[in-house]
Symmetry: C2
Subunit: 397 residues, 2 copies
């Protein structure tokens, strides 16, 4: 597998575009990804019981059609908590896009992110749609889906399948809102591999647990979270089937793309200065290891300690202890940046200067060794800073 | 039931004392509660897998003896993550106290709160113990168990059982640490009712879920959390037996005492300016209602919104949605300070000035009406302020 300098339009047969339609004051706020032929499609959606209108529409269509031609996205207005009018508007967004591309509405995915409780301005939508082009600027799409994110988030890779080269690319938006009503995570992945929708869903589902579901900014789950994968077969490789070496290769590729996007989202969390990675190793099983890693990376006390650049092993061990995992905790080693701070559940002295350098970096890795098995799990998050409180306290409904 | 201006020593046959032994630099840091005769005893302990030494000792003795004569507590050093030496020290703390009172070691409960990873200074302990007196100053006990708490937390009530008056009192420490390695919650309740240890445990267990377990400051669970109840029978009432009107009366009394202590702890959370109460009403069952209330009061986004005095219904509804409770969320009303901000899951306009007054108060009540049943649940917490980040980021291990 090779990382390339690409965009969401790098896989064969895909294009993308982005522009300013007027959902926001000045910044780009509208875009689409288009596949020249119907693509296999797979999706995962928020686990929040409150589900925004565009997710209901997209989920229904993915299930019904099993193929997708385009994803259309606006930022600035989330079309969430908008009742039956909101649902109608999301369907209209889908229909208008389908008309423009001359395809069935069910072949269009729709997504929104931004302020909740406000209706989509449909004139703005119509105007934006009239200006979107096939074969537009894919970098503009990456910009158009952002809200309070401070940077675009893209990744592209290639991999050989026999004599064929398959390209996969991903783009995401993260944990900020133009008005931070809540953090929304959107991820879109394109690929030119030949793979069925069912097989694609299998690969997506088995990797989402280890990637997007392992990041946390503030523990709050949005009503609009969604990840969609389209794969259109333009690479002309032999179809990738489950339980084959090719599937494993494809799954690894997808895992890498999703993991890179997840890390970029965690690092760009509201008010974040540092990416925190927590590796729980030598655990009895992978699920427990992931739960424990997420417990540590989600602890407000650990997050503030990292912000303060303090190697606070006590808070880390406490978060290990309340993870809800039934593992002995009397023989735990904790390393920060590889430097042991706790061995066999007792604190050890460490070189202060060396630790200072580690804590001062913009990526801090915490390793928790349980000595209770051979499995591992990783989670990513960010520090909790004054700016997080500021961003989220100063906003007014 | 009548609230009285009392202390932990108000119930007949109890006394308490507190003093400065030297675990901390200047403030009081050592004390005890003594019953003149063996009291029935019940306890609940941290659910953290990492359990501090004093909890192991106390839990074992409560189980073994089923009676208690005294609880001895130090603040400043938590005796947590201290290995076998720490466990030995906790047993020594118990033995020395037992010797001084001339009772069996198993009749003594021990508790510690403060810095973790440090051994108890045993000379300081011995010195402190030599100065503690029976019939000392009960207000000093309330002070001696505090760490970064900004106020003592006590409550006392009386209730008649037939012709007898039963007195119950509680004292607690909350969510701050002298060095905020983690928040520890300690609660001690005394009562002069005639009740067996088993019946007392029944009453404690059924009320802890609705009170202490429904408060959250930052979601982190300490290794030292403990609640102990002693009831010595000095009121000479007829024994309170399960499944009787007297038991219900006693349980209500205990619930009130625990709830008042819980609210005082929540309000005095690190960096907190406001007490937040969340009432989930008309839920299909009480457990779901409590889970949902706790989800809302624990949301970092809701907590920062309350700090910013913003009536952010969107964040509240989102936290309702991700509580993990299977309840329809399309007909939810949300009131803040009684003023509707959302009806049938759609936002409604409200009087800005009236809302400003509500949000500006030092207690903010959020009501979530699910229209899905007749049960309710309440949780308490506090806002998330710059000071929380400051207190927890500036501490250095």
């Amino acid at each position: 597998m090779k990382v390339i300098d690409g965009t969401i339009a790098s896989p064969l047969g895909f294009s993308a575009d982005g522009l300013h339609a007027g959902f926001k004051k000045r910044k780009m706020d509208f875009g689409w990804i288009v596949s020249e032929k119907p693509a296999s499609v797979a999706g995962v959606y928020t686990t929040n019981k409150v589900i925004a209108a565009p997710l209901i529409v997209t989920k229904t269509s993915v299930k019904k059609a099993g193929k997708m031609r385009a994803i259309v996205v606006n930022s600035g207005v989330a079309n969430s908590c908008t009742g039956t009018q909101g649902l109608e508007d999301a369907y209209t967004m889908q229909e208008w896009t389908a008309e423009k591309l001359g395809v069935e509405p069910d072949m269009i995915g729709v997504a929104s992110t931004g302020i909740i409780g406000e209706l989509l301005p449909m004139d703005t939508l119509k105007n934006g749609l009239s200006k979107l082009v096939v074969n537009g600027n894919a970098n503009d799409f990456a910009k158009a889906i952002l809200t309070t994110d401070t940077a675009t988030k893209t990744i592209a890779v290639t991999e050989t399948f026999g004599r064929d080269v398959v390209t996969m690319a991903g783009v995401a938006k993260g944990s900020g809102m133009i008005h931070p009503n809540m953090a929304t995570m959107l991820g879109f992945i394109t690929c030119d591999a030949n793979i069925s929708s069912d097989t694609l869903q299998l690969a997506l589902s088995q990797n989402v647990e280890k990637t997007f579901n392992q990041i946390t900014v503030d523990g709050d789950t949005s009503t609009n979270d969604m990840v969609l994968v389209m794969s259109n077969g333009c690479a002309l490789n032999d179809e990738i089937l489950p339980d084959t070496p090719e599937f494993d290769k494809f799954s690894k590729m997808l895992n890498f793309v999703m993991q890179e996007l997840a890390k970029k989202i965690a690092k760009d969390g509201e008010g974040a200065n540092k990416l925190i990675q927590v590796d729980v190793v030598n655990a009895p099983n992978a699920l427990d290891a992931r739960m424990m890693a997420k417990s540590v990376v989600g602890s407000s006390l650990v997050k503030t300690a990292i912000f303060g650049e303090d190697p606070n092993w006590g808070r880390i061990l406490a978060a290990v202890g309340y993870a809800g995992v039934d593992v002995p905790v009397d023989n735990v080693d904790i390393m920060i940046g590889g430097l042991p701070v706790m061995l066999a559940s007792s604190p050890v002295t460490f070189d202060d200067e060396e630790m200072k350098d580690i804590m001062h970096g913009d990526e801090v890795t915490i390793t928790v060794d349980l000595h209770s098995g051979q499995e591992k799990g990783t989670a990513w998050g960010c520090d909790l800073s004054y700016d997080y409180v500021k961003i989220n306290a100063l906003y007014h409904t």
